[in-house]
């Protein structure tokens, strides 16, 4: 089910705003409303890259 990340985010978890900001705009350049969790997940093996 490839829906926007904003529709499947857990609510009410402390600091969830930070993790959403980190994963969406600060990582993929996309807000959660525009982010495909499936696309994001399929890229997740690339994490060793150092952000500079």
């Amino acid at each position: 089910m490839d829906v926007p990340a904003s529709e499947v985010r857990p609510n009410g978890i402390p600091w969830s705003g930070v993790s959403q900001t980190w994963t969406g705009p600060m990582s993929m350049g996309m807000d959660f409303a525009d982010l495909s969790p499936v696309d994001w997940w399929s890229l997740s093996t690339t994490k060793p890259n150092l952000e500079v």
Binding site: D2, V3, P4, A5, S6, W15, S16, G17, V18, Q20, T21, W22, G24, P25, M26, S27, M28, G29, M30, D31, F32, A33, D34, L35, S36, P37, V38, D39, W40, S42, L43, T45, T46, N49, E51, V52
Partner: protein, 238 residues
């Protein structure tokens, strides 16, 4: 690194391509620096540039490719580098400075990479819709915002030690138009669809087509290398 990679290749910079014609005996490429003919062409511009149609393809790109490009819009992650006088606020080099934001999304936030390689730079990052908004507002607004976020954490020391700041204009640079591409929710498979070989002598490559390595420099390189191999095979030069 890029210059070194291309050291033994004839590279022409500052020559934006405006048209690629694959209907003649060779591929004809028109650019600001004149026209050239080639046996094949690899196009590595972003999906943002392709979607803006500033390069005219003849014949046009297939509908399936155009559809895939439309379903992979550019995200935006832009940098606000801030130069300080050597005072490092007690922060180590090459770490992330993030802070709590309101739960209401999207948040207006600027997270920082601290003193990369021990330079006196705090590199702020803004992204998503807020990043596009700040880009439209311009560098002064972006630097003000980033300094304001730091002031909330470090107070007046920020102004005591700040020297100058800048902002990358990748959002509205016509040769970039964002940072990197993402599949729209509901359109998984767009990367693979866009990576399908085209008929003829025009090839697409770049970060968006690098499968699980997309959104990275390494992925862009691997995609280009793979497609260069395809071209050599097609030309019988492999």
């Amino acid at each position: 690194m890029v210059a070194r990679f291309g050291a033994d290749l004839p590279v022409t910079l500052n020559a934006p391509v405006t048209a690629i014609d694959d209907t003649g005996p060779s591929v004809r490429i028109e650019s600001a620096a004149g026209s050239i003919s080639a046996k094949a062409v690899i196009v590595t511009v972003s999906t943002g540039v392709l979607a803006a149609e500033t390069i005219r393809f003849t014949p046009g790109l297939p509908d399936a490719t155009l559809g895939a490009i439309g379903n992979m819009p550019m995200g935006l992650l832009a940098k606000v580098p801030l130069l300080f006088d050597g005072y490092h606020f007690g922060l180590k080099s090459n770490e992330w400075l993030a802070y709590k934001v309101p739960e209401e999304m999207p948040a207006q936030a600027c997270y920082f990479l601290t003193w990369p390689f021990n330079m006196d730079l705090m590199v702020g990052l803004v992204g998503g819709k807020f990043g596009w908004e700040l880009s439209a507002a311009g560098p002064d607004a972006a630097v003000d915002f980033a300094l304001g976020e730091l002031r909330k954490i470090f107070g007046e020391k920020v102004d005591q030690h700040f020297i100058k700041g800048d902002f990358t204009n990748w959002a509205y640079d016509p040769l970039v138009r964002g940072s990197y591409a993402s599949e729209r929710p509901g359109f998984h498979g767009a990367r693979a669809a866009m990576a399908e070989p085209l008929d003829g002598r025009v090839y697409l490559a770049g970060e968006a087509l690098a499968g699980k390595y997309s959104v990275t420099c390494g992925g862009a390189y691997m995609s280009g290398e793979r497609v260069a191999g395809d071209v050599m095979a097609a030309l019988g030069a492999g």
